[in-house]
Assembly symmetry: C2
Homo-oligomer: 660 residues x 2
């Protein structure tokens, strides 16, 4: 049959014995450029985003479709009705009442002037309302990115000694973050973000929330000096080295408001109808706190207050961006990391889209969020995205379209124009309480327990990220989490599972013997299965592992006096891909097994595998007649040859064991 | 049937209609520590290296077995016979005649005193003969590692201005290389080396050979000043900026010897019986060249010569190792990179072992090579490994055991004690010719063509490594090659192939429709297959891709007026693993498809998948009754329900499309 190897590609062939046997076809060769283009498309445009545009005929219609693609509000705005507006109005005002105190708090967390939190809730939501495709996302600043800005910029530029430079670098970092986000979207590289697994994000967010809470000890205890490090050890040392500086007024006020906020949150969680109770709590706290300070003059008794907030809309900051050497790299690095972290907003948008059964195009969202940050950096805003908590409030408040963001933006505008003096007496400790209560919601302990139950490696990723953030730095946590995640993928390929398959009685089906306890081996035939692509990273391992399976089987059978292995059937069904190291490995394996008098048989190789086997001549070496579409057929053939005592090419090899 | 989900794990169950259907069992939970231990063993001890030791009874016998494990010569030495010795003697003398001129040449390449090349062919082969398990490896220095030492150490310490420090750093780097090699072996981390794929090595070696040849232009042209950079651009600039310095005597001599060496190599390749012709050619060239210079006094006419070589055996260098700050890190870095590169020797040993059908334990070899380099660094040797060319000569000369290395070592010892003055007049240009002819053999153009034909990505890895080395630096080539290789693995997981399966007529087998052209779809049922584990890196992609398959199928069928998709069968046969992102994705997919009135069905999930599905509660959500061991059974069930017009749970979901 050896001469037939090449010509047997037609799907069916007749072997030497005259029996008809179905064969595995080698797919036709396609031109290299075609394959390349198809691969590119599958890698970068798996969702075929321009389908709607390409479907249209004529330039004008296509241009209109493209405009609608990039500015989704053109899609919904024409059909906008009063009923929808009422829902959006309520949702918008609700999120504005949350955005104002949170904005001020997070700006303080980033060591930026509090007014920036308001600026950042004015321009970006307007941009997002035009370009974003989520109906539920509420735009605003986030605590983790704020902390990152503080720790990364603060490591090189002091916010207290050089506030102007620090501010300008924050704008520049925001600009770079936007550019990076938009570029990732335009270059269709959104999948890079997928390498931050859910487990990594749970650990990272939990760690960041812990660190942010620790930072609030400054405000809660009324301390004036505090470490610039964010790790647990430094913070604890800083707190306990100045116990004599703790202000009881601050502690009492802070704990009181924190308690109030946590109780309202707990209540709203139990009674989802009253979501507005916890949504309104921060603003209530700010008002109560301000009134309290105003009437008791607590600002003279160690309770720090916000002080003057400038009236008026966002000043233009485009001229403040720093593109000159010493600090540009710092801003770029900060922008890169915060920008990637802020892409979390896309996952938030996606999860709400799932509830309402509409689709979010991740790459398009990146462009929207990126543009929002670029324009934000021109108008005195710092990094914004779609925080989960605020979007959840928006969703619960019944928002229908991105119009709720416009309403919020208008409410903030009114605040900026007329209401800023009201925040003069707001105590900082209330802001700390607001941040802490928001952060405690980010520590997702049940999720970590779930990870432990389902997947230990994912739990390690999560724990690694958490510990990295808490004991090292935010960046370190990120690096640890990504490293463990990538290592897991590499290890999966480097050490693939190989299993022995057995025959399920009364069928011609072969299944893993460790899973299907009823499966039985066939004497003289060893069926092995590989669960991963055969690549350079595992071809050496697989060669050794196959040999060990065969040796073990030989030991077992010779102990029982049965016939040893004469056929090794490799189930290639789960081998998704093979490279040249893999084909060489099969080549070597074939030669080694020939010397031991064992025939190698392949079952169910996919089209890519067949193509590679053919072009590397391994197909010819093994013989096309030893390749079968199913394990059942392969074993049946082996069994047939074994029992008809036809020696075939196997016995030839067996006679000179040390042939070179 | 919904209530049965939990209890259906017993392997077989009876569904609502009364038909018996085989089910996919969930494997029993194993204690975490058991799984962990099994995974550790599979990852680090896949070859079960201590089997021979553990099998023995009693401490003394075990200790003896362990000694035999670490010192393989204890295995073969007792049974050593005169016939074997004769073969080893011939092979040993042949490789010694190659080792002496090559050793001197490569030491010059590393900018080290030429005598070090001889020292390095004396001690390390003795160590390897005791500890190594390859019978064919011939120990010696290699050109690429020599070049790396020159370029990495030379970047910070000048070999001409500060020769003593440079020499000591070379010993220190060798020491660290040995420590790293031995540690990798002891920690069973040999698989890290697997991440240098064959393709990467082809490109890298080709690039390094090109660079080494370019460096030889100095010797060939008789130049005195030369760039310390290794990249093509710098070398060409250096060569052509001093055309007036070219010495024709040097050029003529060099080209003559190069021609001679290449002709003998070509001849030996055509006539393998005369392998010794090319093996003896370098020594012949050295002798001829030395005689020529001695009689013509060409050293006074621009032909540089080696000059005095000290008589005597290796001096002890253990006190020369540098463990103090400024330069220790440099030595460590050089040791790390050269040490990893030198592990190539293991692959060489393995490929010869394959011919003779014996086994090489990679981790044990690392310990042997590492020890050899550590002891080498104590006795004035620099980095050694098992070069391919010399081992091939050893093999062709008929070596039987590692004794041939001992013979070579003794021959080099005799040379060191008595014959060094003979090399006084050896012209450097001959050494350049020897290096160039050896290097031209490393540029494996046919291998690169083979890579292009079989696998375009591997070709990119190869070309990347080559260009990185030639236009950047050796380290850059290495980084490029590893980066592309790892990216390929990650991309395989990030963008797995999904395919539609169809029924092969007259069977209940389902196969990929792009491969088996006869396969046909079943109306109302879409069978999808994923070719990779479902991990965080692809769960988002897969969710979108599945949706697109369903949408496309719906468009196609509705255009024809057929029934749309009512069942999606996911063939999990090739899904080797799943993490929590993957289970969440299935959870979301199930809910999304429920809303569209489509039932999700799983076929052939492996035991790990079943375990994860159960612990994440996704099994309960999908329903154990919708999971089948084969695609055939899954489709049969769907078809049965479709044609018996039993609405089931599917129609329930279809009625409220916007249910939240």
């Amino acid at each position: 049959p050896a001469a037939m190897g090449g010509s047997a590609a037609a799907g069916k062939s007749v072997d030497g014995g005259g029996r008809a046997a179905p064969r595995v076809p080698v797919p036709e060769a396609r031109p290299f450029l075609d394959t390349f283009r198809a691969n590119l498309k599958e890698t970068f445009f798996p969702d075929d985003p321009f389908r709607a545009v390409v479907r249209e005929r004529g330039f004008a219609r296509r241009a209109a479709a493209a405009l609608r693609y990039f500015f989704p509000f053109l899609e919904w705005a024409p059909a906008y009705r009063l009923g929808t507006f009422k829902s959006d109005l309520i949702a918008g005002i609700t999120i504005a009442s949350l955005a104002i105190p949170q904005g001020i708090s997070y700006a303080k967390l980033a060591n930026l002037p509090p007014i920036l939190g308001l600026y950042s809730s004015f321009v970006p939501p307007l941009v997002y309302a035009m370009m974003g495709s989520s109906k539920d996302l509420a735009v605003g600043t986030v605590a983790v990115a704020s902390l990152l800005i503080a720790s990364m910029l603060g490591a090189e530029v002091s916010a207290t000694e050089n506030p102007a430079l620090y501010l300008h670098l924050a704008f520049t970092a925001t600009f770079f973050a936007g550019v990076i986000q938009a570029s990732l979207g335009i270059l269709r590289l959104g999948f890079i973000v997928d390498f931050l697994s859910h487990a990594a994000i749970v650990g990272f967010m939990g760690g960041a929330a812990t660190v942010v809470c620790l930072q609030q000890l400054k405000g809660m205890l009324g301390l004036e000096h505090f470490t610039t490090s964010t790790d647990l050890v430094s913070v604890m040392r800083s707190v306990f080295s100045q116990t004599h500086q703790w202000r009881w007024e601050s502690v009492v006020l802070g704990c009181g408001f924190l308690f109030f906020l946590l109780v309202t949150r707990f209540f709203s969680k139990r009674q989802p109808r009253f979501f507005w109770v916890s949504a309104a709590a921060p603003l209530t706290s700010v008002i109560l706190g301000s009134l309290l300070v105003y009437f008791t003059h607590a600002e003279n008794h160690g309770v720090q207050i916000i002080g003057n907030l400038k009236k008026g809309l966002n000043p233009i900051s485009v001229t403040n961006l720093q593109f000159t050497p010493p600090y540009m790299m710092l801003a770029l690095k900060t922008g890169l990391i915060t920008g990637v972290i802020a892409l979390e907003g896309i996952a938030v948008g996606r999860s709400f889209a799932m509830f309402k059964n509409y689709h979010i195009d991740g790459n398009k969202e990146m462009i929207a969020i990126g543009t929002m940050n670029i324009l934000g950096s021109f108008t005195s805003c710092y990094l914004t995205t779609g925080p989960f908590s605020r979007s959840a409030v928006n969703y619960n408040a019944g928002c229908k379209t991105a119009m709720s963001n416009v309403i919020m933006s208008l409410a903030v505008m009114v605040t900026l124009l007329f209401l800023t003096p009201l925040f003069h007496y707001t105590p900082l400790v209330v802001l700390s309480a607001i941040i802490m209560s928001a952060m405690l919601g980010l520590i997702d302990f049940p999720a970590a327990v779930h990870l432990w139950h389902v997947d230990k490696v994912d739990f390690c990723v999560c724990a690694g990220a958490y510990l990295g953030v808490v004991f090292g730095s935010v960046e370190m946590g990120l690096v640890v989490a990504v490293a463990i995640s990538v290592l897991r993928v590499l290890l999966f390929v480097a050490r693939p599972r190989t299993t022995v398959l057995g025959n399920v009685p009364d069928t011609n089906i072969y299944r893993r013997m460790d899973q299907y306890t009823t499966a039985r081996t066939v004497p003289g035939v060893l069926v092995l299965r590989v669960d991963s692509p055969i690549y350079f990273a595992n071809s050496g391992y697989l060669r050794e592992r196959f040999t060990r399976w065969i040796d073990e089987d030989d030991e077992r059978t010779s102990a029982k006096g049965e016939t040893g292995v004469q056929y090794v059937v490799l189930d290639m069904g789960a081998v998704g891909s093979i490279d040249t190291s893999g084909t060489s490995m099969l080549d070597e394996l074939k030669k080694t097994l020939d010397r031991r008098g064992i025939q190698i048989v392949l079952a169910n190789p996919g089209s890519e595998i067949m193509k590679k086997l053919e072009s590397s001549k391994v197909l010819e070496l093994i013989g096309h007649e030893w390749i079968f579409p199913t394990v059942g057929e392969a074993v049946a053939e082996c069994d047939f040859v074994l029992h008809s005592h036809k020696p075939g090419m196997v016995a030839d090899g067996a006679s000179h064991e040390n042939m070179v």
